[in-house]
Amino acid sequence: MPDSPIIALRDLRFEIGGRTILSLAAWQLPRGKHALVLGPSGVGKTTLLHLLAALLRPTSGALAVAGADLCTLKPAACDRWRGAKVGIVFQRLHLISAVSVLDNLRLARSLAGRSTDEGHLWSLLAGLGLSDVAHRRPRELSFGEAQRVAIARAAANRPELLLADEPTAALDDANTERVADMLAAQAETSGASLVVATHDKRLIRRFEERLELTAVAS
């Protein structure tokens, strides 16, 4: 389905214990387009990213991402689908500290059931200026380096959808630009759509597609 939108949702609702956390009427993102999910803290941006990555299951409504109906996909199939189609850069990065930078990337390949493809991983590291730290442990890295490793890991499986949660929250203006460039570049390289959830107004002008989230009236 190359022409179907990468994300299509309708009447999407997510509740925890009867309380509505997120409610969206309709939204579509065409393949290859990048989008910004905007809104103040606590409005459900992270929840939306988790829904898009099938880490959470919608309470009701329709949600199709990268060709899969996430409302009906079985849990084990969700895991496989996520590994193959989605790359996520978390706000707190969450690198595996027990293994090296390179092994963090290899792990992403192996957990998605892919061959290691050392050439791809090394060119990814080189592109992000990480070749020198490939054999270091994540805790030996600066925040900037660790963030680039997280981006490299999200891109390791050439995902169709690249998700980033508040990637620029802790960065100054110059670094915000650089990280946004890097995310966009990685998305272009793998032909992925990039969805960034943020409250950072500095990013607005870089994205043509925008989804404003507002607090749910409950």
């Binding site: 988790h50 895991d79 978390f90 092994d103 792990l107 957990l111």
Partner: protein, 396 residues
């Protein structure tokens, strides 16, 4: 980067913790391995040395002592019996074989046994050098004796009185070595064989020379093989009731002995099991603690496409690699300990203890170690299996 390698990486990340747990497990396994080796070697040795001997006849006393002294050469004899009983017993219709034994002297702690060629034949002894004894004061050395003393055919030695080294020497009557036996893994390895007459000869010199005719000829014990199973019912009672001697059945006494030793071995084995269970608890605590620190990691693995099963396998793989490594290390340690003990203690060697053979029970031990590891990992693994990915990622 497979799940197994990641599990291994986690173990290396907490290497001190892992090494300590491995050590604890290995010590428990080693303890039990050593006991298995000892128990197995002892049972085999006891059974092999007593094979084909239905009855031991000797002076009255403890039947176990008679057996230990006459069959295994581990204890002192209960006393002496008249030599002519050998001829009388050999003529008994229910008896197929009688081997006389005359004890009393030793060479460097190895016993000198006066007997006939039937004794060597009974254990299937093969000569490595020379020939068997034919006349008085000719001696044939067991393999261990030859190695320990460095004596060979043509050499002479002087026996010392008594069964322990340091007794008064019989310097008037030196023995001449005429042969050396090949190792037979039997009691013969640690004996010096000679004719019964040699023992008499030596002690005639030792005691009063010139009154030879007046001394009643004595031997220490007789090893008897039955001609018919019926003899087991009649012969011991006949001897015990009608003569001043006692008859002891190796099968019966050995069962009694193994029962005694078995209780001690079981206690030690319980101690080994305790160590292994402690190691299992240690693995449980380590994994539970690690899990608390690693909830984020598990959530991230899930977000990278790992299924719940994969995460379960990760936790299991850690515990299983640790317990398998502990098991292998423990088996190795047990064998090394057995070999070292056998080298250091002649008593252990005499019991046939060696680290160079493996026992089939070690497989069960290995399975037990891995089972304990799996059991210890089960609860943490299930907790990992049930991790709520989204909640964990957005929480601390």
């Amino acid at each position: 980067m497979s799940v197994w390698r990641l599990g291994f990486a986690y173990l290396c990340d907490r290497w001190l913790n892992s090494v300590l747990l491995l050590l604890l497990l290995a010590l428990g396994i080693a303890t039990i391995t050593l006991l298995l080796l000892f128990d197995g070697a002892m049972r085999e040795r006891l059974a092999r040395d007593a094979r084909g001997i239905d009855l031991v006849v000797g002076a009255k006393g403890s039947p176990l002592q008679l057996l230990l002294s006459a069959v295994y050469h581990l204890d002192v004899p209960t006393g002496n019996i008249p030599a002519e009983t050998a001829t009388r017993l050999a003529a008994h219709p229910m008896v197929s074989k009688v081997i006389p034994l005359a004890l009393g002297d030793s060479l460097a702690g190895f016993r000198i046994v006066g007997t006939d060629h039937g004794y060597a034949k009974h254990y299937g002894a093969v000569l490595a050098e020379g020939r068997l004894w034919n006349s008085e004061l000719e001696a044939v050395l067991g393999a261990d004796v030859a190695r320990a003393t460095g004596l060979g055919p043509g050499d002479s030695f002087i026996g010392s009185h008594g069964l322990t080294p340091g007794g008064p020497a019989h310097s008037q009557a030196p023995y001449r070595v005429v042969g050396v036996l090949s190792p037979s893994a039997s009691v013969l390895d640690r004996l010096v064989l000679t004719a019964v007459q040699s023992i008499w000869e030596v002690h005639d010199h030792h005691e009063t020379v010139g009154k030879r005719e007046n001394i009643p000829r004595e031997i220490t014990a007789l090893l008897v093989a039955y001609r018919t199973p019926l003899a087991a019912v009649r012969l011991p009672r006949e001897i015990n009731v009608e003569t001043a001697m006692q008859a002891a059945s190796p099968a019966l006494e050995m069962a009694r002995l193994l029962n005694l030793v078995g209780a001690a071995l079981r206690t030690l084995r319980g101690f080994g099991v305790l160590l292994i269970v402690t190691a299992g608890l240690g693995i449980f605590v380590a994994l539970t603690t690690a899990l608390r620190e690693r909830r984020q990691d598990i959530a991230i693995l899930r977000s990278l496409g790992a299924s719940r099963m994969r995460v379960l396998c990760l936790m299991l793989s850690e515990a299983l690699s640790l317990s398998a490594a502990g098991g292998v290390a423990g088996l190795a340690l047990g064998h090394i300990a057995a070999e070292t003990l056998a080298g250091l203690m002649p008593e252990a060697r005499a019991m046939g203890l060696t680290g160079t053979v493996a026992r089939p029970d070690e497989l069960y031990l290995m399975a037990f170690a891995i089972g304990i590891g799996a059991l210890a990992a089960l609860l943490p693994a299930l907790t990992a299996y049930r991790t709520e990915v989204a909640a964990t990622l957005s929480s601390g």
